[in-house]
Symmetry: D2
């Protein structure tokens, strides 16, 4: 069995069960993307706020391109592209596919119009649905569809974070949509959960590089290649904070002069703070004595019990040091999460922001905010990227980025799992990122 | 008579005649702007291709802002702004008005939506029309309305050049609108028109800093402050080429290795060529053996007899040196143009590109392409900028830019005159700029 | 026992034995620095080739500053500085000490003159020698002197790599000193050494955060704080190449188009190659059909059996992928090195360049070239930086850098050990860096 | 008579008189350069503070290169270069000569050592002296020697301004040499000198492109090509301030908030002030309530009656506007200077700084500080650059720079004249530049 050809693995349910599952999941996930874009105008969908972000329209097109390029090109008889130039225009970073449009110029693509991109989606949706019927018995086909669906879900989150960044730069501080009010709740104390460590298993539960037991995985057994292979790690005893750091706690760091005191910062972080004149998290602003923040519902007062969000790795690390603690490693986080339920504040709740912890005990591990770990994004021992362009999905980014775990309020609930590895550079601020403290035990 | 308060001067027609004229001209010019934007989508109107350019929507709003801020704020009883935030949002560069939105971020303003900007235009149009009725007898009011109209016309040209730059960066090479075919015509030879020089008068014909004789000016006597005062200059004998340099002529420069030979270039121009790897004009491209160019109608074959367009000052200067000639000074150009008719290829013809010279003798002085002069943009002797924010209109840009003369295929015919001074930095390529050669005599 | 106060640990030899050892080692190491600078003129010592490097004179002064600031300020009665301004001028990066001169401007310090810096060295040498006599019984004092000596040795290597970079930019390709010829030797084949892995101990052998058994450590027990604490890691089975990658092997990568093929490169590495137009290692150049390289003895023909040197992490990683292998982790490297002898090609041999492997079996682990590992530079579990400014020595750099192991031809032999962790950013090319391949087993 | 071959013109004294003059002047001027460098160490001579400046050693070598390349290569029988690589190494900007070492890396040339550059000077001095004997009767040879001497004098001034900039960046604020005290003098009031204007002659007095009347010119008739041809200009009536603007006057601008008020600044100047956080002239600093400045003698208290020095064009223009005045044009300045004596504070006085005006009436026109004019550096009507590489001396810089007139305290007295045109970009601060006000009359 050649693991090089099946890196994004699915389970071995009987074919027909799997075909039914995909036939239901594919249109459902695709529809969610459109629903997220629904409140937005053509203009809102076209603009790009910085090279790291992409326009909403580009997300709508690129996710479609993924299905067309990696599935239809291969499986569709007499394949012809929806539009000759889209192969280059909506290629994100796959050198194996060929040329690509320069990333910083995505916001200049006023053509194709949004309406044509919607047609593109409808067209490919129909063809993928037909292909599921025709090729659903082919396990490799199913793996690629499952990969495309998970890829679409990643871009649902990016669509929201990129949109939030764009709107935040508009002096009108526009509202994407009215958010539901937060439940009133008593503050929850942060305590230390203790873990003994030892030799543990890390990575997605898979045999020979892909899952054979569909019951073992959380969501039908899918995982990305970067979660494989499952392998052993030795952990020294450690402790994790039972909830995320709150705005009130982070504010005490700001008010203690944390952003003006080199001792809390990594050297590169201190340069970052000074050269960008950073004084508080990216979406915060001060009006008189009041701290406010930009949200997807416009500007709002900061909730003291809400988890502090949109912090960079540098800020997370500095706060941890200020607190006499450190960030967890990704192995510590994954090991600790094994016993946690997958309940949380996900995209499905449509809160579009992190909410205060609601209970004692190890909480908020999944959902609310991605949690920075101190682990550099690196291949696991024995990691093999798949062959071909699809092998560029994860592997080529494994340098100078740090791993985040647990998903956020913008992550679909059926997209996350304990072994999931997100990754961003240390200066990234525009994702739904937060802080969980750790210490040695 | 205080010239500081009337720098953008109008003539002294009887008030009622002037009121009628403005009541007709104002809505006509405003309507042209909307007509130019008509073929464009919301998306097309929102994007910004580089910091030097602005989105179409921004042009639509800023020209309206100009009328609201400089006229309605002053003349309207119980003035209230159309939208509280527009005063900052659509302020281009007037420090005297107050804060302004950062220029490089104009393309991020997906809100206000295009529809609201159109409402803004309609609202201000109505209020200005009412104000013309009420305040038309006030000469200073009329001067400001005339200034606002001319400002609007300047932005009509910028709207087109900015749009062309944006579309050129789209790999789909989109078509803004189908252009009419060029008339078939025999090539016209370039010859030298000779001028004796001596002490000449330069600048708009005005007494005491503004026009008193409406018959003397070309368009009701309006001119910008930078065309005043009319003053004397001494010109040595000189010669001007009778038509603009053609694509065929410019191609011979390229094919002779002109872009790889330092001897033709100013030192700063040579650095510009090398650090930007420039090999031909910005909208040219080579397909096999054929030279093509991007136009407002998409990509087309280059017309050998068409004037070479979109050249920077550096390119114009290098070509002139290669040709054993030089660029004219702005005084030479203005003196020579005195005898030329104002006929030409303007925005009004809707050609949207330069066309071949149609006759012998000094031709193409007006319209087709702005002609680079070797004159640095500087105040005329005795120049006084108006007081207040309106004084920032021209004066503060009088450094490190060069004067262009004559208008282009994107200039409204009733906006240009012999004394008109356009100006751009030496590296600007995206305007409708061309080359007329000169020599000493 | 408070490990926070003794992070740079020394052994517990009886005091008098230790005093004798330092009284001999301190002047010997300091003299080596001067010997390395001896062939250089005032001018050679003053220039700085890029912000990452420092002038030789600065190295001479800063290492002296280290002794003066961290030892004499604390231990000398009636301490007065050699020169009032040196505390700021030669502070490298210690925020805890106070202000510092901007790093990119070190080459502008033509004053103090080299002669005064030499006086500064002599003065501080004398005062430290006196302090060793007076305070040698104080274990913390001895630790700081040992730290200062090791700091000096690190700067000996940097002095040479910074100098090499400076001279390489001079078109005269100057010779620092004549290098001895390489011994003629038969090529040695690269084979795989196999390791079973399992739970291993990593880090300097120390109890409670510092060494108690002087016999266990390699050089009197000193180690840096970043090597502590010794802790457990789980290693999967792996293999290491028995020698470094040679110039001939690397040339086959170049000639196979390795620098033009995205598939071998990390995404960030590919951007680095393209935006810097990199085609071969930094000191290589091609003359006709011959590959040559700049050395500390001027330009020379490339030796095919010599290890390829001065490669960045990106290049090392790309070559490994091209070879169907990977880079080792730092734990793999350290575990494998346990059985290797410390013999090698160090600064002491005065070869000033890497030499071909001389024998079969796991070779070249120490000396010749620093070996890039795939491990991001991170704190070990339980790591504690020392308190105060000295705590900035290593800890604040633990992000976005990668660990190198084993020392080089510019490393003093008594400075290196199996647990030693060097670190540089992924784009660094000017250090004596090389490649050892690894694979899973 | 072909003016293209004699652009740097000399007079027509009898040959022997001219030979004697050059035989005396050449070694005298060359010796002055060495005298200026005498107080400096090897290190001082090697460093380069920014790309716009050059090391002292480079000035010593480049001026020598000029004689070797433009004279000895042409006139010396069996010419061989002093050093094969110097032709590239010390070529400043002459593309016609061939390759050149990159300007920003001049400070990295620790080799050749200063001692070899001194040998280079001695060698070329001897050979030029011999050539004067052999070829002195050749008028073109004499013109080139005179050009080389004037070139040397230009670099004497640059040597001092570049050195001042370098030393100013050293926190030790080093002293180049002790300066003589300023004479105590009563303050002199600034008044307006009035000029009627009309058609005037501008440019060096020369017929057919070179001087025929040695008595008419000031220094044996030499001028640069950019001062030719003499031509007519029309001047409107104007007024010039009788002395330079003083530190006290400029301080009133600072204290009135001039650097924080956009209304005084050109748009590009305001960007320059804000993006560089400029608050006062480059060498000023504030200690408590006292204003001090860095001089070639270290830091000193500001003299209120001394002319304000080291201002950029932007600062000069802003101050003029603040004062209700403007800068003069270069023609106004030249016309006004015709009646002024050439007495002044030059390099010859060894004051190394500007001194207060000593008398009423139009003063300080020559010496003390270069005076910014509002004239963009442009070719005069009929200007022809010489053929060959020497034609690059001035002509290729005639864009985006502004003309300065009158010489400074670092200009040799026998180097300046009324028609002399110096030029720098608008942001240049490190030259000895000052402000003379003008107004219309």
């Amino acid at each position: 069995m050649n693991t090089r050809q099946s890196p994004f693995v699915t389970d071995v349910m009987t074919d027909s069960r799997e075909v039914s599952r995909l036939a239901e999941k594919f249109p459902r996930v695709r529809a969610t993307t459109l629903e997220l874009a629904a409140p937005l105008s053509e203009e809102d969908c076209c603009a790009q706020s910085m090279p790291d972000t992409s326009p909403v329209k580009w997300h709508l097109a690129h996710t479609t391109w993924f299905f067309e390029t990696f599935i239809l090109e291969k499986f569709e008889d007499g394949f012809g592209p929806f539009h000759a130039s889209f192969r280059v225009l909506f290629n994100s970073y796959y050198n194996g596919v060929g040329e690509k449009h320069p990333r910083p110029q995505r916001g200049l693509l006023t053509r194709p119009p949004l309406s044509l991109v919607r047609e593109y989606r409808a067209n490919v949706d129909e063809r993928i649905a037909a292909a599921i019927v025709r090729h659903g018995n082919d396990r490799h086909f199913r793996e690629l569809v499952e990969l495309g669906i998970n890829h679409e879900q990643q871009h649902q989150e990016l669509l929201l974070t990129d949109l939030k960044h764009l709107l935040s730069l508009n002096p009108l501080l526009p509202c994407y949509r009215e958010l539901p009010p937060l439940p009133a709740a008593a503050p929850v104390r942060s305590e230390w959960a203790e873990f003994a460590g030892g030799v543990v298993e890390i990575g997605a539960p898979a045999l020979s590089g892909f899952n054979v037991d569909p019951g073992e995985g959380i969501h039908g057994g899918f995982c990305f290649d970067n979660e494989l292979p499952r392998h052993r790690q030795y952990l020294s005893p450690y402790r994790l904070a039972t909830r995320l750091v709150t705005n009130a706690e982070y504010l005490s760091f700001i008010e203690a002069g944390g952003y003006r005191d080199a001792q809390w910062w990594l050297s590169e972080g201190w340069d970052w703070v000074r050269s960008n004149a950073i004084e508080y998290p990216i979406y915060w602003l001060r009006e008189g004595d009041e701290w406010r923040e930009f949200t997807l519902s416009g500007e709002q007062r900061i909730g003291p019990e809400q988890p502090v969000a949109h912090v960079s790795y540098f800020e997370a690390d500095a706060f941890a040091r200020f607190s006499g603690a450190r960030l967890p490693t990704e192995s510590e986080w994954e090991h600790a999460s094994a016993k946690c339920s997958m309940e949380g504040n996900f995209l499905d709740q449509r809160n579009f922001r992190a909410v205060p912890a609601a209970r004692n005990g190890l909480a908020q591990m999944f959902g609310d905010l991605w949690e920075w770990t101190s682990s550099s994004y690196a291949p696991y021992p024995g990691f093999q990227a798949p062959e071909g362009a699809i092998g560029e999905y994860n592997g080529k980014f494994m340098v100078n980025q740090y791993v985040l775990r647990g998903g956020s309020c913008a992550t679909p609930a059926d997209h996350i799992r304990a072994s999931y590895r997100n990754f961003f550079p240390t200066s990234a601020q525009w994702q739904f990122t937060g802080i969980r403290l750790a210490t040695d035990n």
